[in-house]
Symmetry: C2
Amino acid sequence: MSGHVLALCGGVGGAKLALGLSLILPPERLTVVINTGDDFTHLGLRICPDIDTVTYTLGGLSNTELGWGRSGESWEFMENLRTLGGPDWFNLGDKDLATHVERTRRLMAGEPLSAITADFAAKHGIGPALVPMTDDEVATIIETDDGDLAFQHYFVRDRCQPEVRGIRFEGAEDAMPSPGLIAALKGPLDAIVICPSNPFLSVDPLLALPGIREALAGHEAPVIAVSPIVGGKAIKGPTAKLMGELGLDVTAASIVHHYRGLLDGFVLDSEDSDLAGRLSVSTYVTNTVMKTIEDRTGLARAVLDFAIRLKGRA
Amino acid sequence: MSGHVLALCGGVGGAKLALGLSLILPPERLTVVINTGDDFTHLGLRICPDIDTVTYTLGGLSNTELGWGRSGESWEFMENLRTLGGPDWFNLGDKDLATHVERTRRLMAGEPLSAITADFAAKHGIGPALVPMTDDEVATIIETDDGDLAFQHYFVRDRCQPEVRGIRFEGAEDAMPSPGLIAALKGPLDAIVICPSNPFLSVDPLLALPGIREALAGHEAPVIAVSPIVGGKAIKGPTAKLMGELGLDVTAASIVHHYRGLLDGFVLDSEDSDLAGRLSVSTYVTNTVMKTIEDRTGLARAVLDFAIRLKGRA
């Protein structure tokens, strides 16, 4: 393979595989398209949690202890915001804050999110293209028994406590996929990788953009998803709880079903090898739990091997 | 004396005397009205340098080394803003940033600057009333050979280098004096103190508000200014350079002339004792250079003594 790889991802889990891909592919061969449904305006600042997680992860700046934000972060801003009685449910580190303030300034000046994201990535020395899914505003809304909640209110403020009845992506229908996403889908691709992000919260917003589901389903490149479910559990975050609330079995098979019509291949964790051959798509069994850098590059290599195999078969 | 004292001030020099007054007066007897002509919007944040200087000074939070901002400040935000290529000519510390972000949030939500300023002061444990001169936007514009400059661009970005041709206060004519300023002027007062702030840059915006000059001139309480000029030099900042450029002698006498029609008394530094009795208003000679806390309380006491003397004479 010598062509381009398109990775679709949300936050932490997706960013780990995106990092793996970035470490084994030449930078000009990788485009990472990032969910923006979690984006919100807080304290007057436009915050793009998934873009920042991917940027910090690929820039070697991420806080691996916390699982979000910047490494070596300080909290003087938050402490003083608290003193002033400001809304303190969303933690913003001092370093991280520069990203939000400068992004907001440039958005207000009329620059598209794509351009700002690309520039910030370049400033952090990141080679691969980091592309927001859209330059328009899309808001993931969680429908709960307590009413509709903006994603970060559900996820951070309410710690995923409210029971989820449904999820919708406000603005997605009218949003234009970003120029970088459109360009990547138009060019020849060796693989389209759906990273092990939450399908319902982090990947679905992307699939809700006009034409994207069709473009993926009809693409000649193999579309491969990596399971975010291992042995009936989510690696991280609210995926398992959410699946239960949505009436789904917490299994890798449910993920394949969710992505029906889209996938050419599905990467299963070794722990779920019993499902291999019993799903509606080709499967590839490997370790999908990414604790070390080697786990990340190993999974990235496995996914690309799988793509070659699927391409040969096509 | 047991009545109320109204202090009018700008930034650093004024804040020192305001601190002195706050240390010798019961909190309910002091109102500090603060210049807002220096306020500006930067990085999408509403920044009120004089309000913050007075708040930090009276809250025991000011950075006495730098002469501005918070003590024990950190600069993670600025460093990362610089990495991202953001505008970095105006330094914003991590602690300080909370003030600007939270103030901007509350202003955007429709709260008047007065209410936010009072609340922040209370949060920092400050007793006296801290009052912005107006809740409306007034912008001090410096007219230079290079064209018009917003105050902070002149003062911070261009380090007072451009030669000043004139100064105007945009919006002052249509601005409403703040409720706290109006209330203080209506109530009985023991003294109105014009702190040793820059008359042209920090006090004139206040005097440019509708009705304020008249209210001060006609008030039964003695109006006392403390000289910002000592021995032909400004204690701090661009006062002396500015006076030269405006064609004024850099003397305490020029200050008295500038405040003509307003003053009942003028506090001269011991170094300028030769001017005592040779000015058009009553003078009081004392040490006006405030290096220590004792200097601040000493000068505050001197000003109040002078007010008693002037009142007795009236």
